[in-house]
């Protein structure tokens, strides 16, 4: 366990938090360190180093949560947060249970990024810049970013839990702009993991080439089609499809407020029997993995769809309590300044048995969305939207010309049921998910997936 939260201090803070009553109290202490830099116009710039520490204390009384957060980790800071959280309560003092320290093993980091000289990271970005520009004279602009972040957290609560985690994430991104006459196109690629600098030992420069090639390919793009048609979605970040279409709607806060199309659907057939899907916060090295969630619950693998049937919702502590079940280890918070809410970790459609080429060959007419720039859903209505970053027409069973500016729209329940093929070419990618004003690192994954019909929104009418 780190030095963030001494057991004696934690007990004192929890006792103060319950000074005016409440059925549950928790202190969450955190130290954040990070370094980021970028290359733009072949110059290293935006070198930025951050260091923050602070704590959040919450007290739950009835159905109300009282929360206060402060900067700093001195005992006086923590006590101030406890006093502020307790200030609005009017009940009898409660005693927290004695703490029992748990020591879950953090995910292993081989090469601590902070021990690698900053110059080495600058050299890496220069290599990416050269690799991208070597793809051809039509690469007019290239930018790339490097970011490392370490979050040490400690959590203690009035039920006796005392636990902690030490998380290091490393990520690089590449964005290329290609130009031919008046035509301008962009391509982007990322590589990230819950790992240290060892992530970047195996040819990180290929993401620069991939970004550049995407932009160059799109120079030949025509307008995207409009209307309903079959859509084949690529592997990896294509998994954002499932993340938006289903994952958000399974987060128990949406369910309990009646603000999800998956309310009352547990046990029902929501997809074809060929579909199996998981949320798994324990996948080694993955971007969305942690040893414990931000409430101290061990992360776990949860099957959410089994042979097309809906089998689970995703819970944090309070929503689990309300449904009389155990937390699924999905209580996550952006920082000590935020309350935990149910969030996905790594969410994916398990590999199927279809060959991607065969899925496409069966289509007379359709759209091939290789990757997305992102997506968004309203869990209450089920309406979703995905911005396609690389897309092609499918004509006569073949992938033909690239398309620019396509967006896919649809409704969750219809589109999930319309998945009629799942590919055997599974892989994972990284994403940053936003919910309730909080960002969280999430993994998304799948092989190629085919949706029988979806609305493609382009400009070609």
């Amino acid at each position: 366990m780190s030095d963030l939260l001494e057991p004696g201090v934690a007990e004192r803070v929890l006792a103060r938090a319950l000074a005016n009553g409440g059925r549950f109290a928790e202190v969450f202490a955190e130290r954040r360190r990070g370094l980021a830099m970028a290359i733009d116009e072949s110059r290293i710039e935006s070198v930025q180093s951050g260091a923050e520490e602070g704590a959040g204390v919450r007290v739950v009384d009835g159905s109300t949560t009282y929360f206060a957060h402060v900067d700093g980790l001195d005992p006086a800071d923590l006590e101030r947060a406890a006093d502020e959280a307790a200030a609005a309560l009017r009940g009898e003092r409660r005693e927290p249970r004695p703490l029992r320290a748990a020591a879950p093993a953090p995910l292993a980091i081989e090469v601590r990024p902070e021990n690698v000289p900053a110059e080495r990271k600058a050299v890496l970005l220069r290599e990416l810049d050269e690799r991208a520009r070597a793809q051809g004279g039509e690469i007019a602009q290239f930018t790339s970013s490097y970011a490392e972040a370490r979050r040490e957290v400690a959590i203690a609560n009035s039920e006796g839990l005392l636990s902690g985690d030490d998380r290091t994430r490393t990520r690089i991104g590449a964005q290329a702009v290609a130009r031919r006459g008046d035509a301008v196109e962009t391509g982007a690629e990322t590589l990230g993991a819950h790992r240290g600098f060892e992530l970047l030992e195996d040819d990180p420069g290929q993401i620069a080439e991939l970004a550049a090639r995407k932009a160059l390919t799109l120079l030949d793009a025509g307008p995207a089609p409009s209307g309903s048609m079959p859509v084949v979605v690529g592997g990896g970040f294509g998994g954002v499809l499932f993340h938006e279409m289903t994952g958000h709607g399974l987060e128990a806060d949406h369910i309990q407020k009646g603000a999800s199309v998956y309310v009352g659907k547990l046990g029902e057939q929501v997809a074809q029997p060929l579909l199996n899907a998981y949320d798994d916060g324990r996948l080694p090295h993955e971007w969305g993995s942690d040893a414990i969630d931000d409430e101290g619950a061990p992360t776990q693998k949860t099957q959410v769809i089994e042979d097309g049937r809906l089998t689970a919702y995703l819970y944090d502590r309070l929503t689990a309590e309300r449904d009389g079940v155990a937390s699924t280890g999905n209580g996550r918070r952006e920082s000590f300044r935020h309350l935990p809410i149910p969030r996905m970790t790594n969410t994916y459609i398990a590999p199927g048995d279809a060959a991607p080429e065969a899925m496409i060959a069966e289509l007379e007419q359709g759209f091939y969305a290789v990757s997305f720039a992102g997506g968004q859903v309203d869990p209450a209505t089920g309406d979703f939207v995905f911005g396609v970053s690389e897309g092609y027409l499918i004509e006569g069973g073949k992938v033909t010309r690239p398309c620019r500016g396509a967006t896919l729209v649809g409704n969750c329940l219809e589109a999930l049921m319309a998945i009629d093929a799942v590919g055997d070419d599974f892989f994972m990618k990284t994403g940053i998910c936003g919910k309730g004003g909080q960002k969280a690192p999430v993994g998304t994954g799948q092989g190629h997936v085919r949706v029988r019909t979806m609305t493609v929104g382009g400009t070609e009418l």
Partner: protein, 453 residues
Amino acid sequence: MGMSELSVTAGRAVEAALAAGAAAAEAYASRDSGREVRVHGGEVESLTAATQSGIGVRAWIGGRVGYAYGTDLSAPGVAAIAGRAAEAAAVADEDGFAAPPEPAPIEALAGLGDPSVAAWSTADAAELALTVERAALAADPRVAGVEQVFYADSAEQVAIASSTGLAGEYESSDCFAYLQALAAGEGGKETGLGFGLARGPAGLDPEAIGAEGAERATAMIGARKPASRSCPVVLDPTVAASFAGLIGGALGANAVQRGRSPFAGRLGEELASEALVLHDDGRDPAGPASAPFDGEGVPRRRTALIEGGRLRAFLFDTYTANREGGGVSTGNASRHGYRSQPTVATSNLIVGSGSLSFAELLGAAGEGVLVTDVAGLHSGVNPVTGVFSVGASGHAIRGGEPAEPLREFTIAGDLVSLLGAVEAAGAEARWVPFGGSVRTPPLLIGAMAVSGA
């Protein structure tokens, strides 16, 4: 910590950066205290009390710039942050245009604070949020519930100091509330957003916020996909604001100078319709982003961006102004608090109002689509090329009147063409927290690609 103490801390950070080897340095310190209330089902779901403070230090060594930030405002803490800024500068490459701004006279700006933020108790704020929920439920029997009412307010102090002699400080407050109302639809739920923003809770109208959410949710009951076609489109102020924000973002000199804006090389061109007038105003007292100076201490001002159909100006910070060759910063260095180094961004965007009422605007559209919500702006818009395709919902316009609700369609085009296609601006403008901070009326677009069934 009082105001002057924050300035003292900023000054100490500048000294520490110089001592650590920086040739020039700037420090931006902020402190804010705020609260949040979440309400659901007639009960307070959570109450948050928060204080936070921190400092961000920019260090220059020749043309190399580094940035560091942190929360430890003790003397050794600030010295460590300043030292890390100087270390970061040593990693960056030389850039001849990088230099701190010279001090300019800063005119005070009144009206940025509202005493009701301090005067209202947390119980008062919670009651306001509960009133929003009750108003939504009472507005229409088809309102099935409210997913959440969210209320937040904060009071902020900002101080800036630099080795070029720049020094300034100000205080401001802000406040907002919104809800997501749920209406029982045909075989499913519909959602509707209602919101209000002000300098303090006394400036919010909880009844109106609740009623707006209820109206938007119930209006969507029975929505269907429209047919794919090109037709006139009316953007309501929340949607117009999102597009104004995208255009404002592409007018930032950083994107323009680096060839990553669809407006690069087009200054002075007649590319917009005369009906569209766009200004950036960092001093409008009602504007949430208003301040006496920007994120690097340069006075905020008003800049005409699009007027008379022409592209009149780009937005600059000190770096991009230097790069322009003797250009002047427009006071558009923006920060998201002490954690972010300044970059060019809009302050408050003001879209000029026209003379048509909302009903007259729909009348002018004749047959088309009224868009009341867009989704997927972060993934469906390419800021480099200006090409966009975003998810939308709203209503059909038939015979100049709002008709049946529509969903699951996209509107697509490109930002430059959109400017030329604006046929009219409505008369009634409002402040919208989307696309940054924007005051805009509804806009009538002559033709846009609508993709549905």
